[in-house]
């Protein structure tokens, strides 16, 4: 039971990071029908920037704000320069463009920061632990879960109450009508990318904390989060959050309980296990849990 709780809480912490990443995908996809393959690079940028800022002597919480703002700004810039001219082109084309934008960002990050491993600084003692129901849970994990919860509440309010949030929902449901009603669609795109970028940066900061590290491979988190996005349904923020949390928990439980069952085949099996689940799941629900079923017309 204790092992289970231990795995469950670490899974929840990892899952909340997945949820942040998945939410970023969904926000961008809803606004501009672009599936952003460069999202992992935003995560990476956030993590590296945060480390530099904190090491440069900035207060942790201020550094976090600056990191999120800068990463969001980079996202906004990429949308304006690269993806705005591609509006109306097939999804396939934007997928390829973002893959290569991601490759460029990765090279840029390598040039600026190098790829050496480093630890993410935290305002509390990085390895300190608290006891919950007999399970020993890292402060880092608790912080990740709490921060994600806070972000989700803010996100909900933004979507339901604020002017721009309602504009985002309108744009998601019909771009042309939204434009006709006077909603600044261009600004909605920019804001969506900003939001996705800062969510990714936040995810990057928590992803880099002990027991994990920040290195040149941290962008792979985006590929790992795909099953969460697809199982949740591409257009649904709620689906992304549920999918993300479930993904984290399932992955760590699989690491604890499924891997040993499979013998030699089980080595690192938990890394591909979410994909196996996703492939099986999509056979029965091709549009995920909350995705919209497309109506086909000739």
């Amino acid at each position: 039971m204790q092992t289970f709780l231990q795995l469950f809480f670490s899974g929840l912490a990892l899952g909340s990071i997945y949820a942040l990443v998945a939410l970023g995908f969904v926000v961008i996809y809803r606004a501009s029908q672009v599936f952003n393959f460069a999202h992992g690079e935003f995560v990476m940028l956030g993590a590296f920037l945060m480390i530099s800022l904190v090491r440069g002597g900035m207060w942790w919480i201020v550094a976090l704000g600056v990191t999120m703002a800068v990463t969001g700004g980079v996202g906004m810039g990429i949308e304006r320069v690269v993806l705005r001219p591609m509006i109306g082109r097939p999804v396939f084309v934007t997928v390829i463009v973002t893959i290569f934008v991601g490759a460029l960002m990765r090279v840029a990050i390598n040039v600026i920061w190098g790829v050496g491993e480093r630890g993410m600084p935290t305002p509390w003692d990085t390895t300190s632990v608290m006891e919950i129901l007999g399970a020993r849970v890292l402060y880092n994990s608790v912080a990740a879960i709490l921060a994600t919860g806070l972000v989700l509440v803010g996100f909900y309010l933004l979507f339901q109450r604020s002017r721009i949030g309602i504009g985002m929902r309108a744009t998601a449901s019909d771009q042309e009508v939204a434009l006709g009603l006077g909603i600044p669609v261009g600004r909605v795109f920019a804001f969506s990318w900003f939001l996705a970028g800062s969510l990714a940066a936040l995810a990057g900061v928590f992803l880099g904390m002990f027991p994990r590290i920040v290195d040149g491979n941290i962008w792979l988190i985006a590929l790992a989060a795909f099953p969460a996005v697809l199982i949740g349904g591409l257009e649904s923020p709620l689906g992304a959050v549920i999918g993300g949390l479930a993904l984290g928990v399932v992955q760590l439980l699989a690491q604890g309980y499924v891997n040993p069952l499979l013998g030699a085949f089980g080595n690192n099996f938990h890394q591909v296990f979410p994909y196996v689940i996703m492939i099986g799941f999509l056979m029965f629900r091709p549009y995920g849990l909350f995705g919209t079923r497309e109506v086909e017309r000739i």
Binding site: V82, M86, I96, L104, V107, F226, P227, N268, Q271, I279
Partner: protein, 358 residues
């Protein structure tokens, strides 16, 4: 500039090479490809073989993505299956290359057909990400049997003439006074395979199946309504594409002579092939060939010249290549969506209409 003569007989329409100019062009290209290795330096010979590998794999992806419109990020999985088939059969069991070529293709096609049911239910992004999952799964399976695949340390890929026989290097041949080294022999074998792949794809495109593929790509519901068997067409596309990818994988293994799982079964490899068909021009066989040539030659030049630039010289050669490739593809997608083939068509139409603008 001569225009295409008016077809007055049905046979004219059926011919593979419709005009005298096209014939002349193809003959020149084949002659160049045949004579090229006799004078080329060893670096360019390697690049030539690399191009031929990319041609076979690129034609495979072109059939799936360009003809049928199914986005696949899983090409690397099939390349990996082909490569490791060549490595295991050739290295452990001493099977010669001409047996491995079809076996690698068939094994890879079997896995490709297994993806078929998903392609029937999923579209666009969902399919792309399921095929991406296939890359991770194949990599995981290969990693799980280290006694067979060499695990993380990799495996060498010998290319044999005969069962447990000599590798291609020791067989003695001579052409026009030039002794044929192992690299040249390999090049010619690859050339034959590439020519077969290109001819096959060209003919496939002109066949009933090829036209069904185009219909499925353009609007699958409409195609189904008109009586195209969408399921069969998608299965054929996945099967043929992964067959060619398997062959390309075996060729890749022989060219590299050593395979590691992380470098072979990798999202970046899939992306390289997508870059090739995008640069060349999506939806045409010529595009796959042009794309492969441009990709390898420009990559090599970029590697040489970008190294001179101050900031970029700190990057490794692979990173420089990736950077250049990324910029090239982004520019093509934004400026010329039909790739090199589109540029060629524009030049051709300009001169055909000359001195008028259109």
């Amino acid at each position: 500039m001569p225009t295409k003569p008016l077809s007055i007989r049905y046979e004219d329409d059926l011919r593979l090479l419709s005009s005298r100019w096209r014939k002349a062009g193809v003959v020149l290209l084949v002659l160049f490809a045949l004579l090229f290795p006799l004078r080329a330096s060893s670096l360019w010979l390697t690049l030539g073989s690399e191009i031929l590998v990319f041609v076979v794999g690129g034609v495979g992806l072109m059939i799936l993505t360009g003809f049928t419109g199914q986005i696949s990020l899983g090409h690397a999985a099939f390349i990996g299956i082909g490569g490791y088939t060549a490595a295991i059969l050739g290295g452990t069991y001493g099977v010669p290359f001409w047996v491995i070529v079809p076996v690698a293709g068939v094994l890879s096609a079997a896995v490709g057909l297994a993806v078929g049911p998903f392609a029937l239910r999923l579209k666009g992004l969902y399919l792309a990400i399921v095929t991406l999952g296939l890359v991770f799964l194949v990599a995981h399976v290969l990693r799980s049997f280290p006694e067979l695949t060499g695990g993380l340390s990799g495996i060498s890929v010998p290319m044999l003439w005969w069962f447990d026989g000599p590798t291609v290097s020791t067989a003695q041949f001579e052409l026009l006074g030039t002794p044929l080294s192992s690299a040249i022999q390999k090049y010619y074998i690859f050339l034959v395979l590439a020519v077969i792949a290109v001819l096959f794809a060209t003919n496939l495109r002109r066949s009933h199946t090829g036209r069904s593929m185009a219909a499925v790509r353009d609007r699958d519901v409409a195609a189904a309504v008109m009586g195209v068997d969408v399921a069969r067409t998608k299965y054929v596309a996945f099967g043929v594409s992964s067959f060619l990818a398997g062959v390309a994988g075996a060729m890749f293994g022989w060219e590299a002579q050593f395979l590691t799982i992380d470098a072979t079964v990798n999202l970046l490899v899939s992306i390289e092939y997508i870059a090739i068909i995008v640069i060349g021009g999506i939806g045409t066989v010529v595009g796959a060939v042009l794309g492969a040539i441009a990709f390898v030659v420009l990559g090599q030049l970029a590697d040489a010249f970008l190294g001179e630039l101050p900031l970029l010289s700190e990057l490794s050669s692979a990173q420089r290549r990736n950077t250049f490739q990324a910029i090239l593809v982004a520019v093509f997608l934004i400026v010329e969506p039909f790739g090199l083939f589109g540029i060629w068509m524009r030049i051709k139409f300009y001169f055909m209409a000359w001195p008028f603008r259109y």
